[in-house]
């Protein structure tokens, strides 16, 4: 009797779920429109509705974590590759069979970024790395710095009460990582065979300390004022009050719209010491599948055959001009054009090609806060770079 009742209830739930043949996608605002368009095509082909919902990019991961563990949430999310470790550790991401995709068409760094413990957990659509933006009103194409010393000398020329010669979000580890790698520092030692070794942290080695002193010197020599942050830097460059800044491809569209005449230099062409160039963090955006979804097969079809095709990635590029993750898309861009001048795309591509992918292991979570704290203390002069970086490393080690 009781069993029968339960069975009836289960059947009822089953019948109800029959009517919800919908593939849900969480995406940030920029991609919603064209994903809806591609979704309509998918609906025509398969009869499965596609519901593209806008979720603020910063909220997608936390909301997904909550929803997916309850067995709900979207079938597909748009996200960054450094979420992969945490989400996969929780068993919330569905691996994508490598045999089903045209692996050779994707940029290897993009595939590497979404690979965690030997499995591919997402398809990349855009790659990004920061570069040096320069305003042509101040710096001409011939004067572009090729070393830190040149950069400093040039920056001093343009620093006044109203303007800054050079600005970077110096208290944010992501933006200044290039300086550290330039001198030979690293977060976790990486071996292509065994992956990241979290017991080997290189953020307080000799090179890291040199980078710390360099960052501090920007403030001590009056190139950059204290209290510089991303918003100030961004708006100053947009208003033509900054000669050179370090920022990523996501900012390009806004600067173009603001009518700033600017160029971009890949960080990998700037030497910190003779023969040693900067290597920025490479971030990758991609599409991931919820492992608790009931529509995994459709989600996979939608991603592989509709979104991550050359045409699909081109659409992503149009909507959000970062660097397309597929090699064959550059040809389409050449033919059909895009929102960003080709030489800027080329500069960022070069920066990303010479950069280091941000580690996608969950241990990376414990790096950001201590490093940002250390950077703050360094640029404020609260601690010496040695002390600050040693502190940071011991904090990271304690957290792991």
């Amino acid at each position: 009797m009781k069993k029968g009742l339960i069975l009836t209830l289960v059947m009822l739930v089953g019948v109800l779920s029959l009517f919800s043949q919908t593939l849900t996608v969480w995406s940030s605002e920029k991609q919603v429109d064209f994903m809806k368009r591609i979704g309509q095509q998918f609906t025509r082909d398969t009869g499965i509705n596609v519901d593209v919902q806008m979720v603020t990019f910063g909220d997608i991961k936390s909301k997904f974590l909550t929803a997916a563990q309850a067995g709900e949430g979207p079938d597909i999310i748009v996200g960054a590759h450094d979420w992969v470790g945490e989400l996969a550790l929780n068993g919330l991401l569905e691996p994508i069979p490598i045999s089903a995709i045209e692996l050779n068409k994707f940029a290897p760094s993009g595939i590497q970024a979404f690979t965690y413990e030997g499995k591919l957990y997402g398809l990349p659509y855009a790659i990004e790395a920061v570069g040096l933006f320069y305003n042509r009103d101040y710096v001409s194409d011939e004067e572009v710095p090729t070393s830190i010393d040149e950069l400093k000398a040039l920056a001093k020329e343009f620093t006044t009460d109203e303007t800054v010669g050079f600005a970077v979000t110096a208290n944010d580890f992501y933006h200044v990582y290039g300086f550290f790698t330039g001198y030979g520092a690293y977060v976790f030692d990486y071996d292509s065979r065994t992956g990241y070794d979290i017991s080997d942290i290189g953020m307080n080695n000799e090179g890291a300390i040199k980078a710390g002193y360099l960052l501090r010197s920007f403030f001590e020599e009056g190139i950059m004022p204290q209290g510089m942050n991303y918003n100030i830097m961004d708006s100053m460059f947009m208003d033509g009050l900054a000669a050179m800044i370090i920022n990523g491809p996501w900012a390009v569209k806004a600067y173009l719209d603001a009518g700033v005449d600017f160029g971009v230099v890949p960080l990998t062409s700037i030497e910190v010491e003779p023969g040693k160039t900067m290597k920025p963090f490479v971030g990758v955006q991609g599409l991931m599948i919820n492992s608790r979804s009931q529509n995994k097969a459709f989600a996979m079809e939608f991603i592989i055959n509709y979104l991550a095709t050359a045409e699909g990635i081109y659409q992503f590029y149009i909507a959000d001009p970062r660097l397309p993750s597929r090699i064959d898309v550059s040809q389409i861009i050449e033919e059909q054009g895009g929102p960003v001048p080709a030489e800027i795309v080329a500069a960022f591509t070069e920066s990303a090609a010479g950069g280091e992918p941000m580690p996608n292991i969950p241990a990376m979570q414990s790096v950001w806060q201590p490093m940002n704290d250390a950077l703050n203390n360094i640029i404020n002069g609260t601690q010496t770079p040695e002390d600050a970086l040693n502190d940071a490393v011991s904090k990271i080690k304690a957290a792991l």
Binding site: I6, G47, L65, P225, Q369, D391, K395
Partner: protein, 584 residues
Amino acid sequence: MNKFTTFLIWIFIGVMNALLVWAILLLFILANYGLGIVISIFLVLTDWAIFSKKAYPYRYTLPALFFLFILTIYPIYYTIDTSFTNYGTGHLFTRTNAIDTLLTDPTYYFEPENPKTYDFKVFVRYDEQYKPTEDFLLLLYDEKNMYLSEKPETLEYDSRGNLIYAESELFPIERDQITVNNATYKIIRPTESLGTNGNDSIIAIEKDGEIRYTYFYSPVDPLTSTNSAFYNSVLRQNYLKSLNLVLQDQNFRLSSSTIFRKFSEAYRVYDTSVKVIVDGEREIYKTVVVNTLTNKELVERDSAFWDYNENGELYRLIGYKDYIGGENFAKIITDPRISGPFFKIFGWTFAYAGLSVLLTFVVGLAFALLLNDVNLKGKVVYRTLLIIPWAIPAFISVLVWRNGFFNETYGIINRFILGNLGINPVKWLNDPFWAKVAILITNTWLGFPYMMTINLGALQSIPGELYEAAVIDGATRWKQFRQITLPLLMVAVAPLLVMSFAFNFNNFTLIYLLTGGGPAMAGTNTPAGSTDILISYVYKLAFEGSQGQDFGFASAISMIIFAIIAVFSYFNFRFSGSFEEVSR
């Protein structure tokens, strides 16, 4: 009361009971026992209150009781429950969930090096209106052979009603005909291609010469793409996606490596078996998971399943939520990361909450006294202006303070005020002392309108005769304030001050938005900041540190914070209770 009304009430009671019973059953099926028990208790209480004469007076408290259970008691129970578990990153699901995943998830299927793959065709029975029904046949084929499968009979659903397993047997077709369970299936081809033997040009399959299954869909046949909607959303979703086809010792599933367009040989990697553990006299039956490829039992360690890789090393498969006793609480004392700066932060939390209450109260009272002055003109305007800080959402005004006022170079305070006075810029957010000052300034600005408002109200309630009498007795203004205003005011305001203290004790928003806890404490190996209060410190430890989220630990700390506030409030209420003597 007329009969109709009574009837309606009975209907209402019946429907309510039915709905609640349904909800309780569902909750138990979904293994949500906590909430299930809470609602069960509520249901029993409700029916008792409705049907028992003795419980008559309680009827009216029922709605309140319901919300008390759902919104207060259950969350408290849940927090306590969570604080004894390792719920967090890597341990999100129950053990049963984890085993289910290992057994049923396509991720844990094993495909041999060169699996046999089969294309397939779907044949469907149409109803009288010529609409496809869910009665279908599956024809699998490769270059040489054809196999037939009937619609799967064995279907297993999980607790949410999602199909997790279906099974059907495959039968090889010879000479276009086959007998399965006393039914004969015959392949129908158009007359012109009769005699051919391949899988092309099959238009239907007939069962016992009566029931006709028409060729409906094949993923490789573009001619059938118009039928893909029905195939995908009904047949594939309800039967095929978890269908296991059995042919002797081979299992076939829709292969993920061809994006589910073919059936391919695949085997389940993990299976369960029951192990008997002899514990003294008793025998304990324990479910263990076995890797069918290596025949090794999975290791369960640290609330997770681990398997051996080809080098014999253990690697983690999937973790589950488990009770770990008082470990989360012990961590607070034994983990040097937490206990180290704990007392510094503890002290600052009290100082911050106390000073915030004091400063907002003093400023608020001062304004209230001014506004209460009968000689003041234009009260409405002043009052409106002074309420503004309260009216702007803290989320916005705190960011304005942070970026617009306290920025070291571009902030108004350093740039215009101190700059024009010739004072060196102050490191508002980067010096431990000044960051604390900045927090107190901002919080005072945010909080004084509230204090002003309640003080204004309280001042109205003090009878004017007392002041008249005091004036006759020759008391000074100050004496009037100290002996009349303040004690009488306190009677009304003291409980609100305690509330304000408790609020500020947990004022995460302000700290997080203004300084983020920073600047970092030098020389510690924890993410502690100089302006972190308990709750923001815990947030960093539980959600931003190590590997992601740690709900168990966060719950444990919340309970400790709750205990601190409870004790403090208890003494404060007793303390504020002493003021009541004055009013008597």
